[in-house]
Symmetry: C2
Subunit: 434 residues, 2 copies
Amino acid sequence: MKYYNNFNIALVGIGNIGSSVYNYLVQKKNYLISQTGSNYNLKYVSAKNLKKRRHLKNIKKKWFSNPLKLAHKDDVDIIIELIGGSEGIAKKIVFSALRNKKHVITANKELIFKYGNELAKIAQENKVNLLFEASVGGGIPVIKSIKESLISNNIFHIYGILNGTTNFILTEIEKTKKNFSTILTEAIKKGYAEPNPTKDLNGEDVKSKLSILSGLCFKSGILSNKFEVQGIQNIDYLDIEYAKEFKLKIKLLAISEVINNKIKLRVHPSLIPENSDLAKIDGANNAIVIEGQPIGKIVYQGLGAGKGPTTSSVISDLTSVLKSEISLPFGYDINKVKKYKTFDFNNHHSKYYLRLTVRDKAGVLSIITNILSSSNVSIQRIIQNPINFNQASIVIITHKCMEKNIKRTIHKISSKNFILKKIVMIRIRDEKKL
Amino acid sequence: MKYYNNFNIALVGIGNIGSSVYNYLVQKKNYLISQTGSNYNLKYVSAKNLKKRRHLKNIKKKWFSNPLKLAHKDDVDIIIELIGGSEGIAKKIVFSALRNKKHVITANKELIFKYGNELAKIAQENKVNLLFEASVGGGIPVIKSIKESLISNNIFHIYGILNGTTNFILTEIEKTKKNFSTILTEAIKKGYAEPNPTKDLNGEDVKSKLSILSGLCFKSGILSNKFEVQGIQNIDYLDIEYAKEFKLKIKLLAISEVINNKIKLRVHPSLIPENSDLAKIDGANNAIVIEGQPIGKIVYQGLGAGKGPTTSSVISDLTSVLKSEISLPFGYDINKVKKYKTFDFNNHHSKYYLRLTVRDKAGVLSIITNILSSSNVSIQRIIQNPINFNQASIVIITHKCMEKNIKRTIHKISSKNFILKKIVMIRIRDEKKL
C-alpha cells in the first residue's frame, strides 16, 4: 500500500456531471485539502471534443487528447470516469487504469453491473480503490452505507424506487392526466428523460442498480442471472385512475430478496397502497429500503440523479482516496462470494391487476371468467366500463395466485379475437407497510 | 499509528444494549474476522452487578470488577462504553481510555453532547478513534454519512424526528384517543419509554442529538449555546384533534439551520401538513433530513432506538477500528472549528396555534383579540368550543408573526383571571414540502 501525500487526478468525460465535478475540483481545492490532509492536482482532463463550449476555467491547459493513454501515465494516480456505457472507451480506461494500479472512481452503473466482478478482482489484487457511489441512487450514500455501516447485518430484503425518470413520468401522468407518450415527450424536452429513454422505461436501468445493491448486500458478487424485469411502457393514465379508485398507486419497484438461500430479484410496476411510504416518493426522487438483522428496517431517500447529487457522491469517493483509505471494492473479499440459487419466478404469489380492452359483445365476460377459473385464478373484484359504442375496458383484481397461472391466463385470453389491445398486468403489493 | 492485527476489547455496561452487543461479539466472531481481516478478543466485560441474571454465555470468565481500571490495562485496545450518562463512571472511563490511547466506541449521547469537543481533542491528539454512531438515530448510519459521504457538501439545514419515545406517544394518543398521561403510563409499562422519561418529554434528549448532528454538519464543534427547546408535556389529545381539523399533525421536530452565519437550533412540537414526509413517520421511528449543496436533500429513516439498531451501529463502528482505520472523531480537525453566532429566537417568524381554556363569560373574546391586535399578532382563524357549562376552549391560528410578539401575547393573556389552564402554543410549519 503506497501512501501518497499528493494525488494526480485525471478526469475523463466532461458532460453535465463531468463539468460539475470539474468545477468542484477547481473551486473547492483548498477545502478538500483541509478536509483530507492530502494535496491533489487535477492534472488531465479528457473528453470527446475539446471544442464543445463548456465554460470551464483553464480546461485547455489540462486537456489531454487520448483518454486511453491516461491509464498508462506515471503521473496519474486517480482516474475519475464519467463517460458512461458498459463498453467502448469507458470499459477500456477503467480496466487498464486498475491494471496499472490507479484508483478509479466512476458513476457508471452499466459498467459495474456488467464487469463489476472482474474489475473488483483486479482492484483488490492491485490494492487500489474502485469506487462507484454515484452509480446507484444519485447523491444517496447507500453504497458506502452498505459496505461499511450495515456490515454487521444479515440483509435479506432490499426494495425501492431506483429510477427518477420513470417515477417522474408516473407522477406527471397522475398530476396532469395526460397520457404516457405526451408526458414522455415533455420529459425529454425538459431534460428529465434522456433522448433515448429505452433503458429507463423498460426497467433495465433499475435492474443494473438493483443487481449492484444486491451483490453488495447479499455478498454474492454482482449477479447476472435472468430475473423478472418489466418496465412502465404499457402503463397508461387509465391504470393510474383505476389505481386511485382502489386507493393504490403505481410505482416502478425494484425488489430483491433472499428466501431459503434463493435470490428473488425483480423490477416491475407495482400497485401499492396510496398511504404507504413508497407511494409518497414522487418526481425524480429515489428511495431505497433495506431490511436486515439486527438493524430492522432503514430507508434512504434523495434525488436519484442530477449533477448536484452525483457530484456529491463522486467527491465523497474521492475524499476516501485522498485520505489514503484502501477499501475492498464490494466491502468483502470478491474471491469469497456467497452462492445462491435463483428463485423460479413462476412460483411467485401475488394479487394481480388486469386491464383488458375488449370488443363489447355478448359472451365476452363469460369467456374471460371461464379462462380465469380454469387456470385457478379467482377474482376479487371486476369492473367493466364502456369506452365507446362497441369497446369496453374490463379491470380485474385477482385474489392471490401463482405467477405461472396468471401468465397462462393472460396468454389464453390474449389469443381471443375480442381482445383489442395488449393486456395490462400489474402486480399488487398491498402489505400495509411496504 | 499502530497497526494491530489482534484487538482486545473491553465491554463496559451490560444492560439491554450491552447484552445484545455481547452476544453479537461472541456469536459472530468468525464473520467479523472474515469481513475485517483482523482478529479480536472480547477480553473483559464489566458492569455494576455480575449477579444480575443475564443469560450470557461465558460472561463470568471475562468479568472484570473495576471498570475504571480497564482504561489503564495494557491488554485492552478498544473500549465499548454502554453505561450511559454524561457523568460518573462513563465519563471517567471514556476520558481515561482516550488518554491511554485506547479506541472508544460509545452510544452515549449525553457524554458526546457535553464533553464531545474535549474528548475529540484527546482522541485526535492520541490518534485513536472516538466513534459514536449509536448516539444519534439508533441504527441509522447518519453520523458516518455526514463525516464521510456528505463531506463535499455545504450543509445548511438539518431537521427531523429524533426521539422515538415522544413520537410513539404522539402516535398513540392519535390512534387511541386517550390522553397524554394514560399513554405515557402505558408506554413506560411496555418499555417504550424509560421509567424516568423527563429528558425525552422535555426535548433535552433531542437537543443533545441535534447538537451533535449540527456540530458535525456545520463543522462547528458541538455547540452548547442556549437554544429554543420545548417538549411535548403540554400537548393533549384535544390539540391532536384540532390539528386533524386543520389537516395538520403534531410532531416533536428538531430543526437546525445556518442563516447568515448564525446557527438557529430548536426543538419544539410543530404542526406540519398531514401529507408531508415527516407526518408519516410514526411510532418509534426516527427521520433525519439533511439539505446542502451540491447534494440537495437527503432523508434517512429507521428505528431510533432498540437493541437491534443500536447493536448494528456499535458493530459498524467496531469494524472501522478492526480495519485499522483511524478517523477524526468529527470528520474534521477539532482544532479548526468554524465560528457561528447564535440566532436570536425572538426574531423567529412563524404561524402559531394557541389553545386557551377560559371561563365562558361575556367579553372574554374581545379582551383576547384586543391583546393580540395590540401585540401585532393577526388572526387567521379562530374557533371557540364549549367544554362544559362555564368553560370553553378557544383555538387561534395566527398569521405569520414574530416570536417575541407571540410570547408577549401569551404572557399578557395568561395574566387574565379568566384563563383556567396553561396556554398551549404550537408553532406551525406548513411549507408544502418540509
